[in-house]
Subunit: 167 residues, 3 copies
């Protein structure tokens, strides 16, 4: 192996100027990849839109943003046998363990969202998911920019200048 | 928060004219995002191809299309403790609960597939997955257009005019 | 249904010449779609970069590359009730079952990685994930090309000639 770069390498340049992320899962391990990209891209000159849908929408709620969880079962990457994972309370313990580990490297979820907002990142809640998930407009954190449908998403994502990732 | 748009907003326009979706997971919560996009895009002037692979392929079978499930364990977004989720029958109960909820907002999976087909959406079964999943040609629903390999998918997905999402 | 193509169809051509894959999950069923694309694309004239992050990073470690697992719980696509899935040892049994089945169709994970390397595919380890996952440089398999951050990934992925998929 030859080459190690740091996160802050200044030689990287982007050719597309817009990053569109779909956040469809609500677990810590899938939220962080989105938030790391969303907070990295603005410094490289990209505008960023994040479209929160299905389980991802929960992250945009006042209750959800501070309680993003990880499942201790069904995840062979976790060092915990499934039989332990189903004991009541283990989701909380596994989530706390992973959070305390993640937070050595990155700020917590809400802090990352605020950092992203300060860099101009736009947060969009998926309108059809709102009803399906019983999320009301007043349940959303104030950082949400708007509530839009799939057609708005397709409109941005289909721009030739957009890099779109479904996470 | 400023702005609420409805799903049917007519002001959205697309610049890329082709949407390519890979459906790799076979659970309700990952099928619906694909089907919602696939039924929204044609009205915006996009042609749509869906490539069903791995767990996603099951959705294209006669047995699978009416029995798409959701896992009640390992999903911290579900309001159900893991210890309950492993009780035999809970996958069925959780799936029924989620289905009855989803169907307040969208038609069922097979109905969505038929709507998509009526709009010209093409459904492709992944050929190498067929063998691996023990799915035979006669097991597929008649709405399937063809059985193709990864090279066909890469050929479409690499068109400059294509927006490609791996779901 | 009309048309069946084989994997080796020579009529498929690609217009974008670069394939960028993000591998964020560490389970067999999500590693194989990436490796199948990575070993198919070079024959079609595409250069391929794979960025391993979060759970995906484990696949690049000496310990991880030969022990990629599948979860027997939380996966309604598996023919195994959740109550059986939590019995100690079932992750191993489910993984062995799936591996022996997959290996009728494709080589094992490490063999696929070596095939990809022989075709010029580049393997990148995500630098911020290294710390978070307690993976040290000496833990990585020698096939890894470099350790880079999110900004390097965004730089490649934003090339107009790149097809980028988040798996």
């Amino acid at each position: 192996m030859a080459n190690i770069q740091t996160e802050n390498n200044q030689n990287n340049a982007v050719q597309k100027k817009r990053l569109i992320l779909v956040v469809s899962k609500g677990t810590i391990d899938m939220i962080y990849p989105a938030l790391v990209l969303a907070t990295t891209a603005p410094a490289m000159g990209m505008s960023v839109d994040i479209y929160f849908t299905f389980w991802g929408l929960k992250v945009l709620t006042k209750d959800g943003v501070n309680s993003v969880k990880i499942a201790p079962v069904g995840n062979p990457g976790m060092p915990m046998p499934n039989i332990v994972g189903v004991i009541p309370g283990m989701t909380k313990i596994a989530s706390t363990m992973m959070k305390s580990k993640i937070e050595k490297f990155w700020p917590d979820v809400y802090e990352m969202i605020k950092m992203a907002k300060d860099s101009g990142v736009k947060l969009h809640a998926c309108s059809p998911t709102m009803g399906f998930m019983d999320v009301k407009e007043e349940d959303l954190i104030p950082e949400v920019d708007d509530i839009v449908g799939a057609s708005a998403f397709l409109s941005w994502a289909s721009e030739p200048d957009a890099l779109t990732l479904f996470i």
